[in-house]
Symmetry: C2
Subunit: 411 residues, 2 copies
């Protein structure tokens, strides 16, 4: 019998069909992958053993009978951690555990956005959010960034202009603490200005705080959520960057009037309980010692990446040494189209994030790229950047071949 | 400062805000919870230990670098299991692992449904699907069931009538093997008829196979997916009923032209990998011995429930002894409104599923209820049904007080 044809049944606006997966690129500078050597294996093994023996029978109940907000001991851990690190005064009742911060995106967007709505975002921002807006028919207005993150003059101007057109944006999406992809940390004074603008225009703030554990100095400013006096901030975070991304556990902290809307939209019968249980068991005693060691390892990889870029690209690669995180935002010479570079590099086994996929402004980001450094080894970083420089040189004539490169024994 | 008001920002059509969770009812006959005594604790502990020690470092990669379809060893296990049990001839490439069968619902609906669309469902069916249709603005047309499940005469009549109106339903959603909530198993001949009608009208079949491991006899008919010769069936299943529901792991088996659409919609950076890894490690050697023991325990609980109903309700509770599963579909006398009974029972600590929430036909299901028996103990089943009978008697005058009840020492 002829194969059944699903095509006439597909609704309008679907994304293109997925291609068959063909494996990971050899030199992978994309994605929020972490350092495999830094997964706290012994600790996770011991935690899984202890929590399963003690509470494993409760896996027979959806959400281990802890209600729709998730495993209570992990929410308790988070309330204590957020108080200690970010100054957030909350209890387990204010926390919703979710299947990674991406489910947080979907629940927040579900509770606030409809097609045709407008949101404010940082001009350069997380690709997965931009693709969500495109799919949802939501207009994302990008605000330029500088070394302190979101520019307040540009934000106020945009809010004024939108207001004049009768448009009230649904929220301001910001990654104020190790911005993705630019790596900036918003200073205190600007945080105050941002909160004041949010109040003035009645536009809440969506604070994405996924990278704040990974600041080299170990010191972070208080969260916007902490500084808010009116409950105008929705705060999200994740264990993907601090423990392991394949454990899909993120969280939302938000005022009940809006958190209760998200819980109502979370019709998945709970996020994975075993992962929540293992995380709670591991993190309560070990998080504070694990994270500084992780940061030190990430810093070493960042230094390897910056050295490799200096060596292979010279002045053709411009970047700021970021105060933390897992990525570097690199500006190449204007003639480089990173969408094209992406294609050629991938064919050679080197994966990068081309700037235009991480920005509302394709012209501004045309010659920029995001390089993630947490998961490749130092040797892979060196080899991958050398290959990338070769490809870039062949395609765009930059970087010019330098003395450094000539002298170096290539792998 | 006054509390920020999110109300003006909420889009139209949101579900009502969630209420604060206040704990589980003492006698819980709702939800797909399982028997805590039957969680294979030692096996899961050993599996977690082995797989974490061997492969735990791969948690540093999204989806443990197994691509968007999920952990390959679990897909391999499923391909072998589905071949053995359901006759399905597939490979790991045909399987998409998801965060519980509810994510399967969302991906299938996302790939096929738009507001205003029509789907065909069993008149009495899974509540979580009906609420999804309501939220999505999709018209669910219910087809009556009998002791063989979906009635083919009624289905053909409905498909004809819809065709005459120019309506092509997007799919036929069916639970052919231990139907939820009626417990029926569709006979072979009817499966053939269903496949033929699907072909004739160009309407694919959405086969929900979540309960087929729990047939007392251990013997099941081949899946509709197996019997299809044209690839017109999307098949889903879950580990919630066979292992533990708090592990959020389900799966989709579907022809690539439609599976690739679902993968494109799965923008969650992977489902929880630890749970997939532990399941694969546990199930490959133990699934075939675990499930028969689980079934025997569930059957004992079902017998306790049927005895308690006989004893407390007498002829006022009508039901068929189901061939498997975790629920009983009970008809009470016509004067009983189970939506009201649900409220009064809940106040007394007894949770039931009222019929109208599990049916497209509120009149037909008005006096029906679904009772889940897997998670309460035998003693809780006896006590809970006694309390339920008391409440039902007070509110609706039935069951009449019987000799059995008079004689029995009440807990």
């Amino acid at each position: 019998m002829a194969a059944f044809d699903f095509t006439p049944l597909l609704p309008a606006g679907l994304p293109p069909a997925a291609l068959k997966w063909t494996g990971s690129p050899k030199y992978n500078f994309t994605g929020g992958n972490n350092d495999p050597e830094q997964v706290p294996l012994d600790g996770l093994v011991a935690a899984a053993d202890a929590v399963l023996r003690r509470e494993g029978r409760s896996l027979a109940y959806y959400g281990v009978a802890n209600g729709p907000q998730g495993y209570k001991p992990l929410r308790d851990f988070l309330a204590a951690k957020l108080k200690r690190d970010a100054g957030i005064d909350c209890t387990a009742d204010d926390v919703l555990l979710v299947s990674g911060s991406l489910q947080a995106f979907d629940l927040i967007n579900g509770a606030l956005l409809a097609p045709g709505d407008t949101v404010i975002v940082e001009r350069d921002t997380y690709q997965g959010m931009l693709t969500r807006y495109a799919r949802a028919g939501v207009n994302a207005v990008g605000i330029p960034l500088d070394e302190g993150g979101l520019r307040m003059d540009a934000l106020e101007e945009t809010l004024d202009a939108l207001k004049a057109k009768g448009i009230r944006p649904k929220y301001i999406y910001t990654i104020p603490t190790v911005q993705n992809p630019t790596g900036t940390i918003m200073p205190m004074e600007r945080r105050r200005q941002l909160l004041a603008l949010s109040e003035k225009f009645g536009v809440p703030i969506f604070e994405d705080d996924c990278y704040s554990d990974l600041i080299w100095s170990g010191e972070r400013p208080p969260a916007l959520y902490t500084m808010s006096t009116s409950g105008n901030v929705i705060h999200i975070g994740s264990f993907s960057k601090s423990i392991a991304p394949a454990l899909r556990v993120g969280f939302i902290v938000a005022p009940w009037p809006i958190l209760s809307r998200m819980i109502a939209l979370k019709v998945d019968a709970g996020s994975g309980a075993l992962e929540q249980m293992v995380l709670a068991e591991y993190c309560a005693p070990h998080f504070e010692t694990h994270v500084p060691a992780l940061r030190a390892g990430l810093r070493r990889k960042l230094e390897a990446l910056m050295s490799a870029l200096d060596e292979q690209f010279g002045t053709a690669a411009e970047f700021d040494d970021p105060p933390g995180g897992i990525f570097l935002w690199v500006k190449l010479p204007d003639q480089v189209d990173t969408m094209k570079l992406y294609q050629s590099a991938l064919a050679a086994g080197v994966a990068i994030n081309p700037g235009p996929e991480w920005s509302t402004d394709a012209a501004h980001s045309r010659s920029r790229m995001r390089l993630c450094f947490a998961s490749p080894t130092v040797e892979e970083i060196r080899e991958g950047i050398a290959i990338l420089a070769d490809i870039c040189r062949k395609e765009f004539g930059v970087p010019e071949r330098s003395g450094n490169v000539e002298r170096r024994a290539r792998p």
